[in-house]
């Protein structure tokens, strides 16, 4: 079979696996739109297939197309036989729309998406972390047909950060199995698909409360930020983390706005758990989601609190269940993160790290005023805040989005504080990447503030 056919088959398999997992979720009153569901299916599919591969390793079963696809084929057959389908939301009226201005933004977004696929697929994996941390792992797994025993021992010395989660290295391994060869060029298709997924999620999330034109404008803004689109092409995982976090936050917000929407809650927990299965920073986003759930549950009306507490426990349970196997394997192999010094978490030592604030803020302002990477997104966000400071935090949705971003920023500052690396070097290398993680949430918050009508984005308790 030609390689291109295998590539399409791999993407379809991942998407179908995710879609069939979606069919198992509780029924929802306000389901996803088609393109939201497709985006989430792909992310869910990548995460669940890689988790399955990790479980195969734990069971001592070698990776093969048969061993990996069997459970999904059974699930697909089960869904077909029991006629379980995922019911979609009908497309809103005028979803295609027309008009010169709208067409210009559609054209702009299309150019960026096409260029992202082109840039990703024209070269094999070659950038630093993509090779040194992730591609080397997928090569090890592919050649061994599993995660070799030495991975946590003698092999750990040949690549940095063996503690990093394995979602994408295992997903890359799956694609190599589909290709029947180690093709580190075609495997990069994963990354622009996630980029397209984020844009789709952003557009439809904004479309729920704004006009088509406004949704297109904000999606265009997100799509055209050079730093953001560049990370759809270089095989780094920051954009993928951003996808999982953004999806989890949007779904959690939908649950906060409609507490009967259990499906959104469960799906949000899966997405947050997959964020932690993608990058260690994902653990922070899991914590942010749980914390915000607690804030909104305990500050809400009393009768809803009991159900809210149960929801928090279910959410935390899903997070733990998905990530526990990996955390236990890491603990058993005595693999820890080398960037963080656990001693610095101690309050006395933590105070000693205060001096780091200045270089952290200095590096942040370098990004803030860097149009080459960010165009004017950060000054624009500040302008939106200043022009609408009264409603910037008003209502459940805006408050949730704003708090998510604020907590993420504080989380990264805390991370720099407890790191044992030279802060100037570390912040200089990483701030620009960390900002990508919550960038879609910033754009979403801006859309909420500029276009959000109170009745559309307020909780109906």
């Amino acid at each position: 079979m030609p390689l291109l056919m295998r590539l399409i088959l791999g993407v379809l398999f991942i998407m179908l696996s995710g879609w069939n997992a979606l069919c198992l979720m509780p029924r929802r009153k306000d389901p996803l739109y088609l393109f939201e569901a497709l985006a989430i299916s792909f992310g869910l599919g990548v995460g669940l297939v890689s988790l399955e591969m990790f479980i195969l390793y734990l069971l001592g079963i070698k990776f093969s197309l048969l061993s990996i696809s069997a459970p999904w084929l059974i699930l697909m057959a089960f869904n077909l036989l029991t006629r379980r389908v995922y019911r979609l939301s009908p497309m809103p009226a005028e979803w295609k729309g027309s008009g010169m201005l709208q067409n210009i933004f559609v054209l702009g977004i299309s150019i960026e998406v096409f260029y992202a696929f082109f840039r990703a697929l024209i070269k094999p994996i070659e950038s630093y972390d993509a090779i040194a941390i992730y591609a080397i792992k997928s090569k090890i797994f592919y050649l061994a047909g599993t995660i070799p025993r030495e991975y946590f021992g003698s092999l750990a010395g040949i690549f940095p950060h063996p503690d990093y989660p394995l979602n994408i290295p295992l997903a890359e391994t799956f694609f190599y199995l589909i290709f029947g060869q180690l093709n580190d060029q075609l495997v990069k298709v994963i990354f622009p698909i996630f980029y397209l997924g984020i844009l789709s999620l952003a557009y439809w999330a904004i479309r729920r409360f704004a006009s088509r034109l406004h949704a297109l404008i904000f999606t265009f803004m997100l799509a055209t930020i050079p730093q953001f689109s560049a990370y759809a092409t270089n095989a780094y995982l920051d954009l993928i983390l951003s996808f999982y976090y953004f999806a989890s936050a949007l779904l959690l917000l939908r649950w906060l706005l409609n507490r009967d929407d259990t499906a959104s809650l469960v799906l949000s927990a899966f997405m947050a758990a997959l964020a932690a299965w993608t990058k260690n920073e994902g653990i922070m986003y899991c914590a942010i989601n749980v914390f915000l759930m607690c804030v909104f549950v305990f500050t809400g009306r009393k009768p809803a609190r009991k159900r809210g507490v149960i929801a928090v426990l279910v959410y935390a349970g899903i997070l733990l269940a998905i990530n526990l196997p990996w955390l236990l394997v890491k603990a058993a192999a005595h693999i820890t993160n080398t960037d963080v010094d656990i001693m610095n978490i101690d309050p006395v030592n933590f105070v000693k790290q205060i001096y780091k604030i200045a270089p952290i803020l200095y590096e942040f302002q370098k990004e803030f005023f860097n149009p080459k990477k960010w165009l004017i997104i950060w000054p624009a966000a500040v302008a939106v805040f200043l022009l609408n400071y009264k409603k910037a935090f008003a209502g459940t949705a805006r408050l949730f989005a704003a708090l998510s971003v604020i907590l993420a920023v504080l989380g990264y500052i805390w991370f720099y504080m407890i790191s044992n690396l030279d802060v100037r070097f570390f912040a200089g290398k990483t701030w620009a990447r960390f900002l990508i993680h919550f960038l879609p949430m910033v754009v979403y918050w801006m859309a909420l503030v500029v276009c959000g009508d109170e009745k559309d984005i307020e909780a109906d308790e």
Binding site: G108, I111, F118, I122, K123, P124, E126, Y128, I131, A132, A135, I136, K139, I140, L143, S154, L155, I158, F159, N183, D184, Q185, I217, M221, T224, P226, P371, K372, L375, I376, A380, A383, L387, N388, V450
Partner: protein
């Protein structure tokens, strides 16, 4: 008032986007790169990205070193992107300090008595093998 400010921001945004897109393609000469890469095979793309001289040497070593052997890179800075790429391309051969082979790239090395000549692409790109290993 607000609407006017939003419009101005959007216009600035669109202008900057257009400028940086053109810069990305034309000024940074990415177009030339794309044109070259478009016609290359995967192997040649690896070579183009890594640099022809280095990739030729890595390929040479790959063909000669047994898969279960170990090597040490001499002349390539530890932790550099070149070193990371070499480690990636040479796997399953493993990089070690006390290695079976020394891969000497544009460097001089004095290991008389411990390693001897094994193979070479030219005088600057040589493979040395540990005495009494193979």
């Amino acid at each position: 008032m607000k609407k006017s400010i939003y419009r101005v921001l959007l216009i600035i945004w669109a202008i900057l986007w257009a400028v940086f897109t053109v810069r990305e393609l034309v000024v940074k000469k990415n177009m030339n790169d794309y044109r070259t890469l478009f016609s290359l095979s995967l192997e040649n793309k690896h070579s183009y990205i890594t640099g022809k001289r280095l990739y030729e040497f890595i390929d040479f070593a790959r063909a000669r070193l047994p898969e279960n052997s170990s090597y040490k890179l001499i002349g390539i800075e530890n932790g550099s992107i070149d070193q990371r790429r070499a480690v990636y391309y040479l796997y399953p051969r493993l990089q070690k300090d006390d290695a079976d082979f020394l891969l000497v790239f544009d460097a001089s090395v004095d290991v008389a008595g411990r390693y001897r000549d094994f193979a070479g692409l030219d005088s600057a790109r040589r493979i040395l093998v540990k005495e009494k290993v193979f």
